[in-house]
């Protein structure tokens, strides 16, 4: 079980967190075309390697966190609070 270093709570078991998904930028709903919007809804890059994800510290501080993780090694390189990243659909 990987450990995620929460900026508020310290290193915690991943089971305390809810995996939200790849960190996304929400398109401006005005003027967005279906292709752009649906790629925001459904298309994920699913990389083998470094990726930026959103995690929710559900059983902890209940903060959404921006986590940089390598999906191959499960190494977490950075955990920060999100700015404008967009809620996950």
């Amino acid at each position: 079980m990987i450990l995620i270093p929460c900026p508020h709570c310290g290193e915690r078991n991943v089971s305390e967190f809810q995996y939200v998904g790849e960190a996304l930028t929400r398109p401006n709903p005005d003027g967005v075309d279906p292709e752009q919007w649906r790629s925001y809804l459904y298309l994920r890059s699913n990389p083998a390697g470094p990726t930026v994800e959103s995690w929710f510290h559900r059983a902890g501080c209940r903060r959404y966190l921006k986590v940089e993780r390598d999906t191959v090694t499960n190494e977490v390189t950075s955990v920060t609070l999100p700015g404008r990243g967009g809620p996950q659909p």
Partner: protein, 936 residues
């Protein structure tokens, strides 16, 4: 005192052995297959049976061949038995207990005369993939095949009455976990603890020692020294009869403690600084014709039987030896009085060809042409390194031709290997290596150094012996022979991973620990590749089978009750499980509950309703973002119904939100959606609009909530409220008031109407919930107030045509489909799901939620029934009930757009295939569509 088993009249027990683990002062009896057998404390089921001369312990999986002891360890593939209620007990591991009842589990009608052993005669037909090939056609017979084949499947019986025992769970944070308590593991634990590490030493057998336990005097002396060192060193937690079943990311190590006091099993989740894998070596069986006949044993199996349990494994023996373990077995056998008739030394090219016998071994045919009549064949042909825990850390084992076994690939900072899997050498060398690894582990756990030098162990030459010139069993648990593996390769399954899956070799209870390398060797020979090139199958968790009980552990799932639960229980409420909540479904007669609401007044406990306290100047912005309808102009004291959609436009939740103060709002969400909505709100506030000044607090359980519904609701409320004017003008529909209810300050009430009646939802501080509930019932007795449950509420709201998110909508229902056109405000700047709803508005290709009236008023088509037109599904029933108010059945459901017009005739297919004709009603509401009752 010598005790002969009456059932067999045989006594194979030897005189006292220096390393024996039986307590001869504590005799006991147990039953096997109905007969009583003697045993000593410390005996396993099979050692006690072997002492009584029992040879057949089970019938094999496919061919129902007789099987006996082979390894006398946890892995013994022919020794899975039923003990009482418990199936698949490892009889060569489980200690006997007084009065224990053990039974064979893969034999019918008896172990001795097994009807299905006819399978053996049919063996040519049970070739690789036999079941796949034979039971394919015709397809209509699949259910019949399944019934027959299930009867052939092995495994014991699980009693439905079996007690739900207590399984424990524990979390631990040791610096070093040592998996394996043999000499190297013990040395590693001692060295790590001496260096200041907190150590967990885990051993699968009932005591520490590994192979030293069944060794000769020098090994036993070393064992004593090591055990004393472990006991004398502080900081070592020793867990015996326990196993490290898996290693996961971040050195998260799962340990199952099998015989912990007070619990059946305990799963320990340990976050280890460093894991030291010291599982030792597992002796490999040899593949030849008859290699499964009872009486064919591994050298370690025979030595354990003699030295740990003082049991003579046979009378006349042949020994096939390629190493020192075989040589030591020869000495032990002679010492135990076994007549060693022939030593077949594989190091000088000698070999065995086949074993002959039925329920017991009768003779061994050797490669030199001789046949020796005997009842015991001991083989010592090599070792398998169980590198599972290293594989789980990403290690890929490497085949070493010199030693004829796989070795760890190496290269991990936090998972180290010592003992037999790391190399050979003298006992002293193994102990030195263990100590060095232990010291390194302590340093790495404390992050002193990740590059501590660890000396390497020598690698001794060993002949590469896997298979004689005859075919025999490779996988004893799954009954897979070398012939079947060769056939699989011939049929094109020529990679080890494919051949494994096709034949199921290595997939049985021994999980490859006995059979994996032989399977690789047979496939390699059949494909003409080397063993190194063929590779090995990947060992995955668990290292050893784990019970579901250990994994489930004790439950941590919370159960939630409202403060009024004692009253509900005392008044016969039928409980309804609604997520974590237990709610009253009804109090005996839901139809009567409906009638009392429609004609008088009723109370329902709606405490599970999700409630959120929202404060801050930007709450209207948040509400506008979350709900599809508009919220900018919600007046102080007003309440509004709102619908939330997800970003895909699918209805997510609904509820009402009221404005209690200038910057203070209370939001409600559905009971089942409360958690989702809370996270949804936080997600918007934290990620998309951190600049908004809004504070959210979940207050679901801070308030007890009661809905008072019915034409006399106002009369009832007026009996408990003094400081709020309740008249229809002062407190109209969709308004909220705060004040004192039944003397409880800090309460508030809003006038809404899920049931379609005049109704007030009151929220009082939770600790007063029960009191207020009882006060309402007491003071309202003259008004005829009655409690009602969730079922009555469901009927009432269906009569009124109010949808339930998740019941009348699903994961594809966008707002327009749910008849929420009136709520969608596409002219708002933004809201969740806006683009999708904008696109849906212009289309006509989705199902619509409508009210339905079956023409036959007594027919209540089941929820989920399909609506069909010309053989095509054009909709379905989402809700259906008998309406006590209308005296006929009512439904809501989805229909295709061309059937959505009021008056459209539709045909519902009930689950029994009958047709229920129905018409679409003018509105969703079938009772009081104009809302006169609500506004009264």
């Amino acid at each position: 005192m010598r005790r002969k088993a009456q059932a067999t009249g045989v006594d194979m027990r030897l005189g006292p052995r220096p390393g024996e683990i039986i307590d001869r002062s504590r005799g006991l009896t147990f039953t096997w297959d109905g007969d009583t057998y003697p045993a000593y404390r410390g005996d396993t089921i099979t050692s006690a049976l072997a002492a009584a001369g029992v040879r057949v312990m089970s019938r094999s999986f496919k061919y129902h061949r007789p099987r006996g002891v082979m390894t006398t360890s946890y892995l013994d593939p022919g020794c899975l038995v039923q003990v009482g209620d418990e199936p698949n007990v490892r009889a060569s591991h489980r200690m006997v207990e007084p009065g224990m009842s053990a039974r064979p589990q893969n034999a019918w009608p008896s172990l001795r005369y097994d009807v299905k052993s006819a399978n053996g005669a049919l063996a040519p037909f049970l070739s690789a993939g036999f079941y796949y090939k034979t039971f394919m056609r015709p397809k209509r017979l699949w259910p019949a095949y399944e019934r027959v084949l299930r009867g052939f499947s092995p495994g014991g019986a699980v009693s439905p009455e079996a007690a739900h025992d207590y399984y424990d769970k524990r979390y631990a944070h040791p610096d070093v976990v040592v998996a394996g308590g043999g000499p190297a593991g013990m040395a590693a634990a001692v060295a790590a603890a001496a260096a200041g590490a907190a150590v967990m030493l885990v051993e699968g057998e009932p005591e520490l020692g590994g192979h030293l336990r069944w060794g000769a005097a020098p090994e036993l002396a070393a064992l004593g020294d090591l055990r004393r060192a472990v006991a004398a060193t502080g900081g070592i937690e020793v867990l015996t009869d326990s196993v490290v079943t898996g290693r996961y990311d971040g050195n998260w190590v799962a340990v199952v403690q099998r015989s912990a006091p007070g619990v059946v099993e305990r799963l320990i989740k340990a976050r280890a600084g460093v894991l030291v894998a010291a599982p030792g070596l597992i002796e490999r069986p040899y593949v030849f014709s008859g290699n499964d006949i009872p009486g064919v044993m591994l050298s370690t199996g025979a030595r354990r039987l003699i030295n740990l349990w003082a049991v003579k494994p046979g009378e006349r023996a042949v020994v096939l030896t390629a190493n020192s373990s075989g040589d030591a077995a020869v000495c032990d056998l002679a010492d135990a009085g076994v007549d060693v008739l022939k030593i077949v030394d594989a190091r000088s090219g000698e070999d065995v060809v086949r074993a002959k016998g039925g329920r017991t071994l009768r003779a061994v045919e050797c490669a030199d042409g001789t046949t020796v009549e005997c009842d015991l064949l001991v083989t010592a042909v090599g070792w398998t390194a169980p590198t599972s825990l290293l594989n789980m850390a990403g290690d890929r084992p490497v085949y070493n031709e010199r030693a004829a076994r796989f070795f760890p690939g190496g290269g991990h900072d936090d998972v180290l290997a010592t003992g037999g899997i790391a190399g050979d050498g003298s006992l002293e060398q193994l102990i030195d290596h263990g100590s060095a690894v232990g010291r390194a582990a302590a340093r790495r756990a404390h992050e002193v150094s990740a590059t501590t030098e660890i000396p390497s162990l020598p690698v001794e030459a060993h002949p590469a012996l896997f298979k004689a010139r005859t075919h025999g069993f490779v996988d004893f648990s799954e009954d897979v022979s070398s012939k079947e593996l060769e056939e699989a390769v011939a049929e094109g399954y020529d990679s080890i991973e494919l051949a494994k899956r096709y034949t199921t070799a290595t997939m049985g209870p021994a999980q490859g620990k006995l059979e994996s390398v032989n399977a690789v060797a047979v496939v390699a020979a059949a494909t003409g590749a080397t063993i190194a090139a063929t590779g090995t199958t990947v060992w995955r968790p668990p290292y050893s089978p784990v019970t579901l009980g250990a994994l489930a552990g004790r439950s941590f799932e919370p159960v939630r009750y409202s403060p009024m639960q004692p009253w509900h229980e005392a008044h016969g409420a039928k409980p309804l499980v609604a997520g974590q909540w237990i709610r009253p479904d009804h109090y005996g007669d839901p139809a009567a509950e409906v009638r009392s609401v429609r004609s008088g007044v009723g109370l329902i406990d709606v405490t599970p309703l999700g409630k959120f306290d929202l404060r801050g100047p930007d709450v209207p912005k948040l509400l506008n973002q979350l709900y599809i309808n508009k919220w900018s102009k919600l007046a102080l004291g007003s309440v509004r119904y709102g619908v939330m959609c997800a970003e895909d436009g699918v209805v997510l939740d609904d509820g009402v939100t009221g404005r209690l103060g200038d910057d203070h709002y209370l939001m409600t969400a559905t009971s089942s959606g409360a958690e989702t909505v809370w996270e949804w709100i936080e997600s918007w506030l934290q990620t998309e609009h951190p600049e908004w000044r809004v504070h959210v607090a979940r207050v679901t359980s801070d308030f007890a909530s009661i809905n008072i519904a019915g034409p006399r609701a106002r009369d009832l409320l007026s009996l408990v409220v003094d400081d709020v004017a309740l008249g229809p003008e002062e407190f109209p529909y969709m308004r909220v008031r705060s004040g004192s209810i039944a003397g409880i300050d800090g309460s508030f009430m809003w006038r809404i109407g899920f049931t379609g009646e005049l109704s007030y939802e009151i929220h009082v501080p939770a600790s007063y919930g029960l009191g207020v509930w009882e006060t309402l019932l007491e003071r309202g007795a003259d008004l005829g107030v009655k409690p009602f449950g969730v079922e009555a509420q469901r009927i009432l709201r269906l009569e009124k045509g109010h949808l339930i998110v998740g019941q009348d909508t699903d994961g594809l229902t966008r707002a327009y489909g749910a008849g929420l056109d009136w709520a969608v405000k596409l002219d708002k700047e933004d809201f969740a799901g806006k683009p999708e709803l904008g696109w849906q508005e212009g289309r006509d290709d989705f199902l619509r939620l409508v009210g339905l009236r079956p023409l036959e008023g007594t027919a209540v088509p089941a929820e989920g029934s399909q609506i069909v037109e010309a053989g095509i599904i054009v909709g379905r029933i989402t809700s259906s009930r008998m309406s006590p108010t209308l005296g006929r059945s009512i439904c809501m459901g989805f229909v295709a757009p061309h059937l959505a017009e009021p008056g459209s005739a539709i045909s519902i297919v009930a689950p029994d295939g009958s047709r229920v004709p129905a018409v679409v009603t003018p509105q969703l509401a079938q009772v009081d569509p104009k809302g006169e009752r609500l506004h009264g």
